[in-house]
């Protein structure tokens, strides 16, 4: 027993610490990508600001997005109102942060919906395989070819405009690519040597799935999820811009940009600040996603 242990002890001088896992490798690669790290930090900053900013504004200054400053109606940026005020004298900074809350909430929930549907559908298709798989994927092909924007418009116009419907409609559009990616991964992984090796070593099916399949599928899923969030935000903002998404008294970045575009001839700041923050967030999400893709070495997010 002691002899066997001695054989696998590392030669002196070389510290045989724990092997580097896939995740440690990925983290090391991600850290080197300065742009991606910067974007992630900035995103966290925007997220925290949107999450807590309105609360601070309320308790410290007694101000919400609905509080009107009757003296400073439609005033440009000043020391008192950093982003200026809108035509009703509401502070634009607070409104932008509150809009961000709504936009980010919609983005996260709708992405979650897409994630749940996509992963379970794709994993089922890939795991079952055979004829059921090819029919399930035929359905995805057909859904892919449908003009979903039209259906989202049809749904939201026809059936009132509530938030639950918005989450479901957007989630229903975005799950298809996720299903394809997961299915392809599961299908190829199940046939690979290391899974076969694990099976011949007598590892139970449950362990194979959790130790070998899930960690390998997780990479592409994480990458594609981060890239889905900006797509969802774009869709939500587009719908809100058309007046079909978030409804007053709630506002999101889409409705603020719509407001700003209507007033841009005289009040440039009403368009510039919400549009600027929105674009910055999209930029950061895209780069954080790209960085993750490189770090986790995912071949292609989209097929």
């Amino acid at each position: 027993m002691s002899a066997a242990t001695a054989v696998i002890t590392a030669p002196s001088g070389v510290s045989l610490s724990k092997g580097r896992s896939l995740w440690q490798d990925a983290w090391a690669r991600f850290r080197k990508n300065r742009l991606a790290v910067g974007c992630t930090v900035l995103l966290a900053f925007i997220g925290l600001l949107c999450a807590f900013g309105p609360t601070v504004a309320f308790y410290k200054f007694g101000m919400t997005g609905e509080t009107q400053d009757l003296v400073l109606k439609a005033s440009p940026p000043s020391a008192q109102h950093w982003f200026g005020t809108d035509s009703l004298g509401r502070d634009l900074l607070v409104r932008t942060l509150e809009g961000g809350r709504v936009s980010l909430k919609v983005a996260l929930i709708a992405t979650l919906v897409a994630l749940l549907i996509g992963v379970s559908y794709g994993a089922t298709a890939g795991y079952v395989g055979g004829r059921a798989d090819s029919w399930m994927m035929r359905v995805v092909d057909i859904l892919y070819a449908m003009p979903f924007m039209l259906f989202v418009i049809l749904l939201t116009v026809a059936f009132g405009k509530n938030m639950t419907l918005l989450y479901l409609a957007i989630g229903a559009v975005e799950w298809l690519t996720m299903a394809r990616i997961v299915r392809a991964q599961v299908l190829t992984l199940a046939r690979q040597e290391f899974v076969e090796a694990a099976r011949s070593l007598g590892l139970p099916g449950r362990m194979i799935i959790f130790r070998h399949i899930v960690p390998n599928v997780l990479g592409p899923v994480i990458v594609y999820t981060t890239l889905t969030i900006p797509a969802v935000m774009l869709l939500e903002a587009a719908l809100s811009f058309l007046g079909l998404g978030v409804q007053p008294p709630d506002s999101s970045w889409g409705t603020l940009i719509d407001d700003g575009a209507n007033n841009m001839e005289t009040y440039w700041w009403m368009l510039a600040f919400p549009a600027g923050i929105f674009s910055l967030t999209l930029f950061c999400l895209n780069f954080a996603g790209d960085g993750l893709r490189d770090a986790l070495d995912v071949k292609s997010g989209k097929d």
Partner: protein, 306 residues
């Protein structure tokens, strides 16, 4: 190749049929009716007459099969809200506006995106590459409804080169097309660069270089055909994006295009016009997707076998 084409054709027809059916029933499930939404209520008898004239007194399944019959004969039926106007006429009046903008946007996108992507790939990791790609970034994080108002503000209001809204003067297509074109130019530049880089690293390019073929000839005659595959594959989705994106563009620049009709038709519960516009858009997209699929299969035999 024939087998592939036929299977894609069947798939395209299935898509149009599914969309037709879904739209037909979904709009009827929505609360309200085409005749009840007005300031003054119609008397019962008039309402009955209106319903009869559109065949809405029949059971829904009969209406459904009747509509299928009409569409198969190329009859898009009359509008329920715009009295006495055929849906086909409404679409034909509005579509040229959307088409003009869509096509010029696509041309602008290809005209800027292709050269930028090719140059970036050939001059990889140089200043040219970095500047082309950072420009492409702007297109990716500035959506149409941000870029459009800014372009309108600068070129329309400040410089007064173009009208900010409407469809009256012969230069009114410029701002909407440029707005959409720039965004797609960014995607096309990225795709072109990626596709070209992959091809330029392959052995047959090295062989050509070793034989002494001049650089520009390698790019134009050897690399371009394979390198542009991702761009061709993107053209279908791009056209889909451009046509649906036209909803937003039409709103920003206040254009009398087809997108406005779709939204208004659904708002008014104009059952027949909703069906006609949605089926029209779908057929258009499906047809474009079908053509790009066949084109890709022809360019790249591997796809046919998949």
């Amino acid at each position: 190749m024939l087998r592939f084409t036929l299977s894609r054709l069947v798939q395209a027809i299935v898509v149009v049929f599914v969309v037709f059916t879904l739209t037909f029933f979904m709009i009827r499930l929505a609360p309200g009716s085409p005749f009840a939404t007005g300031e003054k209520q119609m008397p019962e008898e008039v309402m009955e007459m209106m319903k009869r004239s559109y065949g809405m007194n029949k059971p829904v399944y009969q209406q459904y099969f009747g509509a299928i019959g009409n569409y198969l004969q190329g009859d898009f039926m009359p509008s329920m809200k715009y009295e006495g106007r055929a849906n086909a006429k409404i679409i034909l009046d509005a579509f040229p506006v959307s088409l003009t903008i869509g096509i010029s946007a696509l041309l602008i996108a290809l005209g800027i995106g292709l050269p930028a992507g090719i140059i970036a790939a050939v001059k990889r990791n140089t200043f040219l590459d970095y500047s082309a790609m950072s420009l492409a970034l702007i297109g990716i994080c500035l959506p149409t409804f941000v870029m459009g108002p800014f372009l309108a503000l600068y070129f329309g209001i400040k410089l007064e080169w173009f009208n900010v809204a409407g469809w009256f003067s012969p230069t009114d297509w410029v701002l909407p097309s440029v707005t959409m074109g720039l965004i797609y130019a960014a995607y096309i530049a990225r795709l072109t660069r990626g596709g070209m880089l992959e091809i330029l690293n392959q052995d047959f390019i090295r062989t050509a270089r070793a034989k002494g073929v001049p650089g520009w000839k390698i790019v134009v005659f050897h690399a371009l055909k394979g390198g542009l595959l991702p761009v061709v594959a993107f053209l279908g989705p791009a056209l889909a994006g451009i046509t649906t994106g036209s909803f937003i563009i039409e709103k920003i620049f206040n254009l009398p295009g087809l997108g406005q009709h779709v939204i208004n038709a659904v708002f008014n519960r104009d059952y027949t016009l909703t069906l006609a516009t949605v089926v029209f858009y779908t057929s258009l997209l499906v047809a474009v997707n079908f053509l790009t699929d066949v084109l890709i299969a022809w360019l790249n035999p591997k796809v046919r076998l998949a």
